[in-house]
């Protein structure tokens, strides 16, 4: 005890340790992420000319993005997809994360099930997506099953190359990214809290609402934010398996293909702005530090 008392108090004010540790990651992010983002913002104010651009300041790209009906429709369609995908993913992911965190006792089984959910992501994204074709096609497995069950009297062509297919494939691609953070948050909850709550007379519903749900909200927010943003930036799913419609991502992709970089940049700035607003809104409602 004497030893402990004799030690000088730990230095706090000038402790450079944490800064040295985060510096490499921070530098990398500043150069390779912030650098490109600044370039996009600058480019969005340049004047487009045929297949190129000139560095003359203009607001015309933004005016076009907000007034052009095709651009507007594509931004709205993207928001629609993202909202549905994020909402359904959270509703599906929460019970799964809860089941894995609280109802599986064996640690080995828990790890195995978590790994089992990740394995599909080692398969190429495009291959995973086109693998839905035999399932969803007019002659496909889903139609066969539904007709066998007499739910449908004739095969429906609506399952493939439709909004349904886009949303289904996006949920399949992203749901695991919601399960992960919610599982993490649930696993961090101290079981003693439930005993304390039960001792003070809280029933199961109250316990779930006041302890489980509230403490897992940071996980929900991270998962929902990720899925929302991922679906916003996803230009390929509708192209491979959805109906012929242009999402904001495809709009940017196509503008890049036609080398209209200033316009592509303006649409990028707009959807990134929307993404940031949504993420900030999700994060301010919860205390993310509960996760750590």
């Amino acid at each position: 005890m004497i030893l402990l008392a004799d030690r000088p108090p730990p230095k706090r004010v000038w402790d450079v340790g944490p800064y040295i540790l985060v510096l490499p990651a921070l530098t990398w992010t500043l150069i390779f992420l912030i650098g490109p983002l600044v370039q996009i913002v600058v480019m969005s104010f340049y004047t487009p000319v045929q297949l190129s651009y000139v560095p003359i300041f203009t607001l015309s790209n933004y005016v076009k993005a907000f007034t052009n009906p095709t651009a507007q429709a594509s931004i709205l369609l993207t928001l629609e997809y993202s909202t549905i995908v994020a909402g359904v993913s959270v509703l599906l992911a929460y019970p799964v994360a809860y089941f894995l965190a609280n109802k599986i006792q064996s640690q080995t089984l828990k790890t195995a099930l978590l790994v089992a959910l990740i394995i599909p992501f080692w398969i190429d994204w495009t291959i995973r997506t086109i693998s839905w074709i035999p399932m969803l096609g007019t002659n496909g497995v889903l139609n066969g099953v539904l007709m066998g069950l007499h739910i449908l009297s004739e095969p429906s062509p609506l399952f493939l190359y439709s909004d349904f297919a886009t949303v289904l494939v996006m949920i399949q691609s992203y749901v695991v990214f919601v399960i992960g953070p919610i599982f993490l948050a649930l696993a961090k909850i101290d079981p003693l809290l439930y005993e304390a709550a039960a001792a003070s007379g809280a029933n199961r519903i109250k316990q779930f609402y006041h302890i489980t749900l509230r403490l897992s909200l940071p996980g929900v927010a991270i998962g929902a934010a990720f899925v929302f943003v991922a679906s916003m930036g996803d230009w390929a799913t509708p192209k491979v398996i959805g109906r012929i419609a242009t999402t904001a991502g495809q709009f940017i992709y196509n503008s890049q293909v036609y080398l209209n970089w200033p316009f592509a940049s303006a649409v990028s700035v707009i959807i990134t702005g929307i993404a940031l607003i949504i993420v900030i809104a999700l994060f301010t409602g919860v205390n993310l530090r509960q996760l750590f």
């Binding site: 921070l26 080692w122 398969i123 291959i127 993404a275």
Partner: protein, 264 residues
């Protein structure tokens, strides 16, 4: 009884999600053996022709090799960056949260936006597009996940354990080697595995800035023209290979856990 209904309900949703995640995988494996040259039922006969087809395509094999190279490099570089960064958060420091959110931007910026910005960035610097121009971009995307995992994986007692080891006379290096590292190693390994997984499947950010192509770019290009069962055969092979790799890693991990004495 009410508890049992809850458990059954949860299990049902879990099975639904598992079905959703796995049904294309099952469909991919089944239809890869179809001898007919189309992607939909019925299955005409069983054959390995689609496997022969992709294995004999040097373009696909080369792009797969490039994907593996890039994914391994991404995992290594990301690990070197996120492990110390996550560890910095074992105690609070000024500006900690601002720095955290700045790095997290890597997963908040939509992929297509970042990919576009990256072209301008490389153009401005005069860097020619190659396989390795993908590395910084993949690392930016993988790094936040690793940092979150390490930060979340820090034992609340870590600082006390370190202090205890120091009090007992361990050098800083020994404290790190025998106390800190064993406690955060699982989170670091998980982050590295995650970085590998993200990189090997990356399409949305790479499309503008990686050339010659990686496997996702190659496959996407093929699908633009015509999807064939050869792609299903390729996907099936990758699945079997990944599962085999996972079993090997799992066995090695168990063995090494048994051989290493608990940190004392």
């Amino acid at each position: 009884m009410a508890r049992d209904y809850l458990k059954i309900g949860l299990a049902v949703v879990t099975i639904v999600v598992a079905t959703l995640v796995y049904s294309p995988i099952v469909s991919m494996i089944v239809f890869s053996f179809n001898s007919a040259d189309r992607m939909v039922p019925p299955i005409e006969g069983l054959s390995l022709r689609w496997y022969e087809k992709w294995l004999s395509s040097p373009e696909i094999v080369n792009s797969l090799t490039r994907s593996l190279e890039l994914a391994i490099a991404t995992a290594a570089v990301a690990m070197a960056l996120f492990a110390p960064a996550g560890l910095a958060y074992k105690r609070p420091f000024r500006g900690a949260e601002a720095i955290f959110y700045l790095i997290i931007l890597g997963i908040i910026v939509p992929g297509v936006t970042y990919g576009l910005g990256a072209i301008f960035f490389y153009r401005q610097l005069g860097v020619p597009i190659s396989l390795w121009t993908g590395l910084p971009v993949h690392v930016v995307w993988a790094l936040p996940w690793g940092m979150i995992l390490v930060r979340a994986g820090i034992d609340p007692m870590l600082i006390e354990y370190e202090e205890a080891a120091k009090t007992l006379g361990a050098t800083s290096f020994k404290v790190f080697r025998r106390v800190t590292l064993p406690l955060i190693a699982p989170a670091i390994m998980a982050g590295a595995l995650f970085a590998f997984t993200l990189s090997i499947g990356e399409l949305f950010r790479s499309v503008f800035i990686v050339n010659p192509d990686t496997l996702p770019l190659r496959v996407f290009g093929i699908v633009q023209i015509r999807a064939t069962p050869a792609l299903l055969a390729l996907g099936s092979t990758m699945t079997i290979f990944s599962l085999g790799l996972l079993v090997v890693v799992g066995l090695l991990a168990r063995k090494s856990l048994r051989l290493t004495p608990a940190p004392s």
